[in-house]
């Protein structure tokens, strides 16, 4: 690739679009989320600023910039300043290889709806960079020099480490079947009709990917790092003004990336019945595909928002249990089935019943375990002889002066 104006301007345009759209999108996604929350809770939501409250996002933005930035005395200033930026940079970087519109695996000249087209390590790059954004949270929590921030940081650290594994395992099927890490190639491989979408033959992997990605974005029901009821504000307790917003922008950028990835990797990207095959160069076709992609992304975002106001937050042991006792074993089992199918050249659809069988088996085991634990607990409360029980009561530490 030679560097001249013809190769540089598409790059600059794509970067400009991402840099301009992401902050505005962040503000408006917040607005949408508030509205949806209000509707779900039988309220009206922001409706004072502008028609239907549409300018609320703008007002919020202005307020944020004008707000006083409180910098506590006890923080480690350097790290405290850089932590939100690190989080945002990492989240933004992962967008670089994600096509935000139709893009062909062989990058053409002219405008392309992706910053870095044809990157052969696409998904690997996304996973590597987005898990770096944990540094933003960890450093922010540590530099705040506050126990609640530290708890939030440690929690997010454990959460990121745990959910990286199911995230990677769930993507293996998609990657191995396509034979490429390039996101455009993966979308192109789903191009021949709706039956080729990855979600049909990898339903379990799709669910696992969505769950793990949700956990990586620190959103409810996995928002333990900020967990208002327990940790004041978690890692961002000591942050205010624009630095606080950078954290949230990072989170929303992450959410946007997850929405795009889910739509691209599992839901067929910009393909739809009637819009199949490679990306054509006609403008109308391009715009139609773009609309299809954005519709799918919006759908995924709607599900994420709906889930936020539907599910209660996990307890921390439940969070770890979900990753280590459910998602990781399921991912490994799914991967084994995938290896068998691919090496024996069996038809791909055989993996769909296998996925469902895996899900049912895990549910059976889970139901058994929960029932057994409940029975044990009930048995234990009357199993102790009364003397032992009273001894146990007496053995409890007495209050002394």
């Amino acid at each position: 690739m030679t560097w001249n104006w013809n190769t540089i301007w598409p790059l600059l345009v794509a970067i400009g679009i991402v840099l301009a759209v992401i902050p505005i999108l962040g503000l408006y996604l917040t607005f949408i989320e508030r509205k949806v929350a209000a509707w779900i809770q039988d309220r009206i939501g922001p409706n004072r600023v502008g028609p239907f409250g549409l300018l609320q996002a703008v007002a919020d933005g202005i307020k944020i910039f004008l707000k006083e930035q409180v910098i506590p005395d006890h923080v480690f200033k350097t790290v405290y300043f850089f932590a939100p930026t690190i989080g945002l940079i990492c989240a933004m970087l992962s967008i670089a290889v994600i096509p935000f519109g139709p893009a062909s695996p062989t990058p053409s000249d002219g405008f392309r709806a992706i910053i870095a087209p044809g990157v052969d390590i696409g998904i690997l790059f996304v996973m590597g960079v987005s898990s770096l954004s944990a540094y933003g949270i960890i450093l922010g929590g540590w530099a705040s020099n506050n126990k609640y921030s530290m708890y939030g940081a440690v929690r997010s650290c454990a959460q990121f480490i745990s959910y990286e594994i199911p995230l990677g395992l769930s993507l293996l099927g998609v990657i191995m079947a396509t034979g490429s890490l390039n996101i455009e190639s993966i979308v192109a491989a789903q191009g021949d009709g709706i039956a080729n979408w990855n979600i049909w033959w990898q339903p379990l992997a799709a669910i696992m990917f969505f769950t793990a990605a949700l956990a990586e974005t620190n959103r409810l029901p996995f928002d333990l790092p900020e967990c208002e009821q327990e940790l004041v504000g978690g890692f961002h307790t000591e942050y205010s003004g624009i630095k606080f917003v950078l954290f949230f922008l990072a989170e929303y950028t992450h959410v946007v990336a997850v929405c795009f990835l889910t739509a691209l990797l599992f839901l067929g990207g910009w393909h739809f019945p009637g819009l199949t095959g490679p990306v054509d160069s006609s403008l109308s076709g391009f715009l139609m595909r773009w609309m299809v992609l954005l519709a799918k992304v919006s759908l995924v975002f709607a599900v994420i928002v709906q889930l936020r106001w539907t599910l209660p937050r996990f307890r921390f042991d439940q969070l770890m249990g979900l990753a280590w006792c459910a998602l990781i074993p399921l991912g490994i089992a799914n991967f084994l089935g995938l290896v068998v199918v691919l090496s024996l050249d069996l038809p791909r659809w055989t993996l769909a019943p296998y996925s469902i069988a895996l899900l049912f088996a895990s549910a059976l085991i889970n139901a058994r375990q929960v029932t057994k634990r409940a029975k044990d607990l009930a048995a234990r409360s009357f199993a102790l002889p009364s003397t032992e029980r009273s001894a146990a009561v007496n053995a409890q530490p007495q209050l002394t002066r």
Binding site: A38, I40, Q41, I44, Q306, A363, N366, A367, V370
Partner: protein, 222 residues
């Protein structure tokens, strides 16, 4: 969990069934253990609320709530039927106030004034610090003549602390406002002098009729 049958004390047997209501340990079925149907069920609930929108929100500054007449809000100083301040400056409210927010200065009335000849004392100043007040209603309970009352005005604001010190005129104007708006509180015998201030013959001769206390009293306390 191992039971020891040779234990000297009585072995642990569950209490008789009649005394104890046994709760079954929580069980989780197959569908619940799948999680996904439960999540779908939850989403259907939230979507139902989202689609059938019946917001319970009240657009506050435009639509004011109807406050109960029993609400304890801003104070007022009542007027008697001649329009004078009803307070007899007995200091009972100031004494009863747990927040120490009432300051009264009493003055003797001029007995030569036909307007005041039936009264011994009246407050020269009567100041309530609305910021100190805890709105407990004990002043109103202590008042023997039902002169001080808490109204249902709840949106009290001011720009300075001095502004929130309500003096006699301000408190009387609150009375006029609430009477005009028909927002009389219901706890005390409003509109009539209490028993302590109407025993004198002067009051009856002055008004020419007995106050409506008994009927009102029956109404509110009966």
């Amino acid at each position: 969990m191992n039971q020891t049958p040779n234990n000297a004390a009585q072995p642990s047997s569950p209490p008789p069934k009649k005394q104890v209501k046994w709760a079954d340990p929580p069980q989780i079925g197959f569908m619940e253990a799948l999680y996904l149907p439960a999540i779908a069920q939850g989403i259907s609930t939230t979507v139902k609320h989202m689609v059938s929108r019946k917001p319970t929100t009240r657009q506050y500054p435009e639509v004011k709530p109807t406050i109960s007449a029993n609400y304890r809000g801003v104070h007022r100083l009542n007027r008697d039927d001649k329009g004078r301040v009803k307070c007899v400056a007995c200091f009972l409210c100031q004494t009863a106030c747990p927040a120490d927010c009432i300051k009264i200065e009493a003055t003797a009335t001029d007995k030569n004034d036909p307007q005041w000849k039936d009264r011994d004392k009246f407050p020269a100043t009567f100041v309530i610090d609305e910021l100190r007040c805890i709105y407990c209603g004990m002043c109103e309970e202590a008042c023997p003549v039902d002169a001080i009352e808490l109204t249902s005005i709840y949106d009290l604001t001011g720009l300075s602390r001095e502004e929130m010190l309500f003096d006699k005129d301000k408190l009387l104007s609150v009375y006029d406002e609430t009477v005009q708006a028909g927002q009389d509180p219901v706890r005390t015998h409003r509109g009539a002098l209490g028993p302590a201030s109407e025993s004198g013959p002067a009051s009856e001769s002055a008004t020419g009729k007995s106050p409506a206390l008994p009927s009102n009293g029956a109404q509110h306390h009966g």
